[in-house]
């Protein structure tokens, strides 16, 4: 069974068909890319998949479960986590607390337990700290655990966002332009990290990206979006050579 299966997904804003009859199938463990020119509707697809927008039409199935029209929170609980194009960290919280916030629904104790500092508080907090540090280590952020997230350099903020998303223990990870604003060295390092995350966590990953080197380097399959519609879909090497794709990117 596919990890993500989307059929006939459409949304209109006013009269504009921002996403029209979108479809996509991602297998478990796959590294999948969603590309397309500016304004093609890529982020809108992410917003539809994560419940920020409710589709006018279509079905989204995650691991066989229909999640169409559910709330952002329920979709995260169902197993989709994401990052944002314009980084949305909890800037005035520490790096560690950002990740621990991601663990919110997996390591639980009641508010009263927390206020009264009952034994369970210490036990669960210890588990959370260990788990959070484990994730931070993957991204080489363990040294910065005590810093405020807002004080991290840009590249590390992007990584922290991925770490926080991973902390929710998703089945599917959506990355919205993870390499935006990074220099070539940082991008190379990020590619290694993404591959490592896929292998280490056995994760299915869908990413939006403009950096063709990154896309060509790590994505196994691609969907190209143009004017809200699927232009081309398939294996990365084939898609990138497709004449319609080349035209869409370079113009006639």
């Amino acid at each position: 069974m596919a990890m993500l299966e989307v059929n006939n997904l459409s949304i209109q804003f006013g009269g504009l068909h921002a996403v029209d009859n979108f479809h996509m199938k991602i297998e478990k463990g796959e590294l999948y890319g969603l590309i397309g020119p500016n304004g093609a509707g890529k982020t809108t697809v992410f917003n539809l998949l994560t419940g920020v927008y409710k589709p006018n039409e279509g079905i989204i199935k995650l691991d066989g479960q229909d999640i169409t029209g559910k709330s952002i929170i329920d979709i995260n609980k169902a197993g989709i986590a994401r990052t944002f194009q314009n980084i949305r960290l909890f800037k005035d919280m520490t790096v560690l607390d950002n990740v621990k916030a991601g663990l919110h629904n997996h390591h639980k104790y009641s508010t009263l337990t927390g206020i009264l500092r009952l034994p369970k508080y210490f036990k669960v907090e210890k588990e959370m700290n260990e788990r959070a540090m484990e994730i931070l280590k993957v991204f080489n952020l363990d040294q910065e655990a005590e810093l405020l997230a807002g004080n991290l350099p840009y590249g590390k903020q992007r990584k922290l966002e991925i770490a926080r998303a991973l902390a929710t223990d998703p089945k599917l990870l959506l990355l919205d332009e993870p390499a935006a604003g990074m220099n070539p060295n940082e991008t190379q390092e990020l590619m290694d990290t993404i591959r490592f995350v896929r292998d280490h966590f056995n994760m299915t990953i869908l990413l939006i990206e403009h950096d063709m080197k990154l896309v060509g380097g790590i994505c196994e399959e691609l969907t190209v979006l143009n004017f809200g519609q699927v232009l081309c879909q398939g294996e990365t090497s084939k898609v990138l050579k497709d004449p319609t794709v080349v035209t869409a990117y370079l113009g006639e």
Binding site: T43, N47, F84
Partner: protein
């Protein structure tokens, strides 16, 4: 006949709320902030008129013009000094609290200059009353002027926003500030203009308010200001006809509550209206839902 008389009072009070609400709704629609000090600009305007007429023996017309000029300037200065630096602040609480600070500042400046005791406002609007139904209903001149001024302002503003270039710039900034900037709209100037218009209207509202209820203290503007915000929310924040309808409905509700229920709980009823509206239709009568961009 008392019903019609109350209705007339309600519409008159509501027209004043509507003019104040227009200022709120424009600023909220365009600068996306709740200008808490808006009500206090009303008080400033009224004090300017009172001082100009009683202390400087100015003619009422000149005093009104002076008041509009001073309030307009005050609005622009307040925006530039206190609000603009915070426009890109990470917390939108920051500008709201600053606005409360400005409101407090205006009140306490007035308190220092004019003292806490209520001053009686001078009659500047001298229009004869209208006697209807063989003397059963008297409509004061102030009431007639208030309602007319309100209608003129609303129509004028609507035309300004829809037909003129600066008006369309306002619409653009209100839709999407960044996009407007990219399209060459001067966002700072547009927001300044919005504050200028809103504050100029506040001066007129101050004149009408104090002509209808002729006592003036440093706190005169606060409560009508807050009620006018309720009116703006009621009508749908950001909508010019909404502010007008919301203002008049609120004025009528308030006067009817005073007349038929109890004057002590009239304010409570007005605020209960706000809570009910927010519960049932948070976008108000004419408003649209705004969603944060992701």
């Amino acid at each position: 006949m008392s019903f019609i008389s109350y209705l007339k009072d309600g519409i008159s009070l509501g027209s004043i709320y509507a003019i104040i609400a227009l200022g709120y709704t424009m600023v909220y629609g365009i600068a996306k902030m709740l200008n808490f000090a808006h009500g206090d600009v009303i008080m400033v305007g009224a004090f300017v008129i009172l001082t100009a007429v009683t202390k400087a023996n100015m003619s009422p017309i000149l005093a009104i013009i002076l008041s509009v000029v001073i309030c307009t300037a005050a609005g622009v200065v307040i925006e530039a000094v206190a609000y603009r630096p915070l426009r890109k602040a990470s917390s939108n609480l920051a500008v709201l609290i600053t606005a409360i600070g400005v409101s407090y500042l205006l009140q306490n400046l007035a308190l220092l200059i004019f003292g806490a005791d209520a001053k009686s406002f001078v009659p500047v609007i001298n229009v004869p009353s209208l006697v209807l139904f063989g003397g059963q209903l008297t409509v004061k001149g102030v009431t007639i002027v208030t309602i007319l001024v309100c209608i003129v302002i609303m129509v004028g503003l609507q035309l300004f926003v829809k037909k003129t270039k600066p008006g369309r710039a306002m619409q653009a900034v209100s839709e999407d500030r960044d996009a407007a900037q990219l399209m060459g709209v001067n966002v700072n100037a547009t927001i300044s203009l919005t504050f200028a218009i809103g504050s100029g209207l506040a001066a007129i509202a101050g004149l009408l308010l104090c002509s209808a209820y002729p006592t003036l203290t440093p706190y005169t503007g606060a409560m009508p200001g807050i009620k006018a915000f309720v009116a703006a929310v009621f009508g749908g924040i950001g909508s010019i006809p909404g502010a007008m309808v919301g203002g008049i409905l609120l004025g009528v509700i308030e006067i009817f509550s005073k007349a038929y229920i109890s004057s002590q709980v009239a304010d409570a009823i007005v605020f209960a209206v706000l809570i009910v509206v927010l519960l049932v239709k948070p976008s108000g009568l004419f408003g649209k839902n705004i969603q944060e961009k992701v």
